[in-house]
C-alpha cells in the first residue's frame, strides 16, 4: 500500500551517498515525476543504473528511504530482476545472446571461447577490469543469430574468431 508519511511526524529528508555528485539530481527528478511512493521503485532503480552503471548499497539505501519502502524490499527488487547489477561493470561489456536461435546457431561456442582464453564465465569481469562478459535471454535479433552486443552495439552472425578479434582489440592499449 502506498501511504504518504503521516502528518506531524518528523521524517528526516534522506541524503544521497555523495551530495556533491550531480547525477543524484537525475535520480531525484525521476522520483519527483513519479511520486515518492513504492510504485516508483523499479523506474527509479532504472534511473540509478543508467546514471551510475550499477546499484550499490548506498544507492539502495537512499532510494528506499526516499520512496518510503523498507531496504529489504528495494534489495529484493534489485536482485529479482536480471537487468539490475549490484557490481560495477568492466570498461567494456560483451553480452552474448542466449536466445533459442542464437543457442542453436552457436552461442555456447562463444562462451566457451571466452572461458578458454580468459577464464571468465558470464557475470564475471576479467582480472584487469577490462571486459565484463554477460548473457542476455534474447535480444530479439534472432534473424542475425548468433548475436553479441559489444559496448551497446549489436553485432550479428558472430563466430568465435570474430569474438576473439574484438576482445583482443579491447585488450590492446
Amino acid at each position: 500500500m502506498d501511504m504518504p508519511p503521516a502528518a506531524g511526524l518528523d521524517y528526516a529528508k534522506p541524503v544521497p551517498p555523495d551530495a556533491q555528485d550531480k547525477r543524484w539530481r537525475i535520480v531525484d527528478a525521476t522520483m519527483r515525476r513519479l511520486g515518492p511512493q513504492s510504485r516508483s521503485l523499479i523506474e527509479t532503480l532504472h534511473t540509478v543504473q543508467e546514471a551510475f552503471g550499477f546499484l550499490d548499497e548506498g544507492a539502495l539505501r537512499y532510494v528506499a528511504a526516499s520512496l518510503h519502502v523498507p531496504l529489504s524490499r528495494a534489495y529484493g527488487v534489485a536482485t529479482f530482476y536480471h537487468f539490475f547489477s549490484l557490481k560495477p561493470a568492466g570498461k567494456h561489456t560483451c553480452v552474448v545472446c542466449m536466445g533459442t536461435a542464437c543457442y542453436i546457431k552457436g552461442a555456447p561456442q562463444l562462451l566457451a571461447a571466452m572461458a578458454q582464453d580468459y577464464a571468465i564465465v558470464p557475470g564475471e569481469t576479467t582480472a584487469d577490469g577490462n571486459i565484463s562478459l554477460l548473457t542476455a535471454r534474447c535480444l530479439g535479433s534472432c534473424g542475425l543469430a548468433p548475436a553479441v552486443v559489444y559496448d551497446n552495439q549489436v553485432a550479428g552472425k558472430i563466430s568465435p574468431q570474430h569474438l576473439r578479434q574484438q576482445v583482443v582489440k579491447w585488450m590492446s592499449p
Partner: protein
C-alpha cells in the same frame, strides 16, 4: 493543447502530408529497425542523404528511415519507388543507389521481391512496417492513421466497438488465445473504485521471438491507436505499456510517439473535444520472463518483484492497484485499428474457423530466410518454412520447428502439412505462443534443446510456488544427467512424473507449461533419448562436444 483536434483537422494533416510526399518524384526507404541497424543501416541512410545532396536531387528524391521489411537476414534492406529492393547495402553503395533511382536498378544489390517470401505474406499488423517513418506521426496519419480512433470516439458507443471486435473473432496474440472481444466486455462491465486501466504487455520474453519489438520500432503509433480504441471501449482512463528494457530503440520510438500524439491532442485529456480522456505511460521491464504472466506483470508495474498471484480474481475484475484492468499484447492491439476501419466481418473472413486473421511469426534458426513474416491463420508449416522461409540451408534435413518458446513444443516433420492455428498446435503438444518459430535441423540434439528450455525455466522461475521452483531444478538435473550419458530408463519415468506434477500444481503459466518442451521431445524424439541412455551416444554429436569443452 487548447483547440481540440477534429476529424476534419486530422484529414487536413493527412492531406498536407500526402501532398508533401507527392512533390518528390522518387523515394528511397532505408530500414532503421534494430535488425538492420545492427548492420549499420543508419550509416547507409546518412550516406544516401549526402549523396542526394551531392547529385542535386533534393527536390526530386526523398530518403526516409522506415521500419522492418521482414527479411532481417539480408539487411540492411532498402526499398525504392522503382519497386527495386536492395539487400546488404553499405555506405559505399550510396552513390550507386542514388544514381539508380533515375537509371537502371542496381543489379549487384538487387533483392528479388517476386519470391514467396514477399508474395505469400498477408500484411495487416505489419502493413505500415517498412512503409511509414516510425518517428513522424504525420506519416502515420497520412496512411489513414488515427482515423479509426477518431471514428470510434466521435461516432460509436463502447458497446458497438466491442461488438466489432467480438465479431472479428480476434484472439489474444500473446499466446493463450483468449477471445479479445470477451475480455473487453468483461472489463467494460466491471465497476471500478476510482478508475480502470489498460495495459499493453510488450515484455516479449520468449527467446526467439521479436514480433512485438518490430511493431514497436516500425509502427509505434499503431499500438497507441489500438490502445486508445480499447480504452474507450472498456472505459479505461490510464494506460501503461510494459516494455522490455532490452529494447532501447523500441522504447525510444514509443516515447517519441507518445509525445507527438499528446502534442496533437490525440492522447491526454478530453481527446478531440470529447469526454474521453486517456494517458499512456511507459514502464520498463527489468529482465524477468515471468513478468509476461499478467498478474506478475501487474506486480512489476506496481514497482514490486514480479511474482504471480492465484487467479481469480482476474485482472479484469481486480488488476493494477486493485482496479479493473485490461491487458493485451502488442500484436492484439495492433490488429484493432484495421478491424474498426474495415469491420469485424472483414477480419473474420481471414483465417480458419476458430482462429481468425493473420499471425506474425519470427522465423529464425536453421532456415534460409530468417526474419519476420505475417501469414493468414491456417497456412501450413511447410508453406511457412519451405516456401516463405526458403527451406533449410546447406542441404540439411529438417528436424523440428519450435513454437511458443519455453512454454511450447517441438513439432516434427510428420506435421509439416498441418494448418497452423491455436487448436492444431495444442493438439500436437505445442502452443501458438507469441509467434517465435525456430527451425532446427539434424545438427540440433533434441535432448539438449529440452535441457536448454528447462534451464531457462529454472533460471526464470520466480520461486514463489514450490512445484515450479524445485521441479524445474530437478528436471534440469535429470536432463543434464541424460546429456552426460549417465541416465537410466528410471530417470525418464521420473521426468514424466515430474512433468505431470508441474503441469497440475504450479501457480502460473510458467510452471504449468515448463514441461512442454520435455514432453514433446519425449513424444516425438524418443529414439534420441534412447540413444543417450542405452548406447551413450548423441546422434547429433552435440552433447559429447559440449561435454568435452566443459
Amino acid at each position: 493543447m487548447d483547440v481540440p483536434m477534429t476529424p476534419e483537422e486530422l484529414e487536413q494533416i493527412a492531406e498536407t502530408e500526402r501532398e508533401e510526399q507527392k512533390k518528390f518524384a522518387h523515394s528511397i526507404n532505408v530500414c532503421v529497425a534494430a535488425g538492420c541497424m545492427s548492420c549499420q543501416s543508419q550509416g547507409v541512410k546518412d550516406a544516401i542523404d549526402q549523396e542526394i545532396k551531392k547529385q542535386g536531387l533534393e527536390q526530386r528524391c526523398k530518403n526516409k528511415g522506415v521500419g522492418c521489411m521482414g527479411l532481417c537476414a539480408e539487411g540492411p534492406l532498402i526499398s525504392t519507388d522503382r519497386s527495386a529492393m536492395y539487400k546488404r547495402a553499405t555506405a559505399n553503395d550510396a552513390a550507386d543507389i542514388v544514381a539508380s533511382i533515375e537509371g537502371d536498378p542496381l543489379s549487384r544489390l538487387l533483392c528479388r521481391t517476386d519470391v514467396p517470401f514477399f508474395q505469400r505474406q498477408q500484411k495487416i499488423v505489419l502493413e505500415n512496417s517498412g512503409v511509414v517513418d516510425p518517428e513522424r506521426i504525420e506519416d502515420y496519419i497520412a496512411a489513414n492513421g488515427y482515423s479509426a480512433m477518431m471514428r470510434v470516439i466521435t461516432e460509436l458507443t463502447p458497446a458497438e466497438v466491442i461488438e466489432q471486435v467480438a465479431k472479428s473473432g480476434l484472439r489474444g496474440r500473446g499466446g493463450a488465445g483468449y477471445p479479445t472481444g470477451l475480455k473487453w466486455s468483461t472489463v467494460a462491465k466491471a465497476t471500478p473504485k476510482k478508475l480502470k486501466y489498460a495495459i499493453c504487455n510488450a515484455d516479449e520474453g520468449d527467446p526467439g521471438a521479436f514480433m512485438d519489438r518490430s511493431v514497436l520500432e516500425s509502427d509505434p503509433h499503431r499500438l497507441l491507436e489500438g490502445m486508445l480504441i480499447a480504452a474507450y471501449a472498456v472505459g479505461a482512463s490510464e494506460g501503461f505499456i510494459y516494455a522490455r528494457a532490452e529494447y532501447p530503440l523500441a522504447v525510444k520510438r514509443l516515447r517519441t510517439a507518445i509525445r507527438q500524439a499528446e502534442r496533437l491532442g490525440l492522447l491526454g485529456h478530453n481527446i478531440c473535444g470529447t469526454r474521453f480522456s486517456f494517458g499512456i505511460d511507459i514502464r520498463l521491464g527489468a529482465g524477468a520472463f515471468v513478468c509476461g504472466e499478467e498478474t506478475a506483470l501487474i506486480a512489476s508495474v506496481e514497482g514490486k518483484r514480479g511474482t504471480p498471484r492465484p487467479r481469480p480474481p482476474y485482472p479484469a475484475q481486480e488488476g493494477l492497484f486493485g482496479e479493473p484492468t485490461l491487458i493485451n499484447n502488442v500484436e492484439t492491439y495492433a490488429n484493432i485499428p484495421p478491424i474498426i476501419r474495415n469491420g469485424g466481418d472483414w477480419y473474420a473472413k481471414i483465417g480458419t474457423e476458430k482462429s481468425k486473421g493473420t499471425k506474425v511469426f519470427a522465423l529464425a534458426g536453421r532456415v534460409a530466410n530468417t526474419g519476420l513474416v505475417e501469414v493468414p491463420m491456417g497456412i501450413t508449416l511447410r508453406e511457412i518454412i519451405f516456401d516463405i522461409g526458403g527451406g533449410i540451408p546447406e542441404g540439411r534435413q529438417y528436424k523440428a520447428a519450435q513454437t511458443g518458446g519455453p512454454s511450447g513444443g517441438c513439432i516434427p516433420a510428420e506435421f509439416l502439412d498441418m494448418p497452423v492455428d491455436y487448436e492444431n498446435l495444442a493438439r500436437v503438444g505445442s502452443i501458438m505462443g507469441s509467434g517465435g518459430m525456430i527451425v532446427m535441423d539434424d545438427t540440433s540434439c533434441m535432448v539438449d534443446v529440452a535441457k536448454y528450455f528447462m534451464d531457462f525455466c529454472m533460471t526464470e522461475s520466480c520461486g514463489k510456488c514450490i512445484p515450479c521452483r524445485v521441479g524445474t531444478y530437478q528436471m534440469n538435473e535429470l536432463l543434464a544427467k541424460i546429456t552426460r550419458f549417465e541416465a537410466t530408463q528410471q530417470d525418464i519415468a521420473m521426468l514424466e512424473e515430474l512433468s505431470d506434477l508441474l503441469k497440475h500444481t504450479s501457480l502460473c503459466g510458467l510452471g504449468i507449461s515448463a514441461p512442454n518442451p520435455v514432453l514433446s521431445t519425449l513424444r516425438y524424439f524418443a529414439d534420441e533419448y534412447k540413444a543417450h541412455i542405452e548406447s551413450h551416444q548423441c546422434p547429433a554429436g552435440v552433447c559429447a562436444a559440449q561435454g568435452a569443452s566443459r
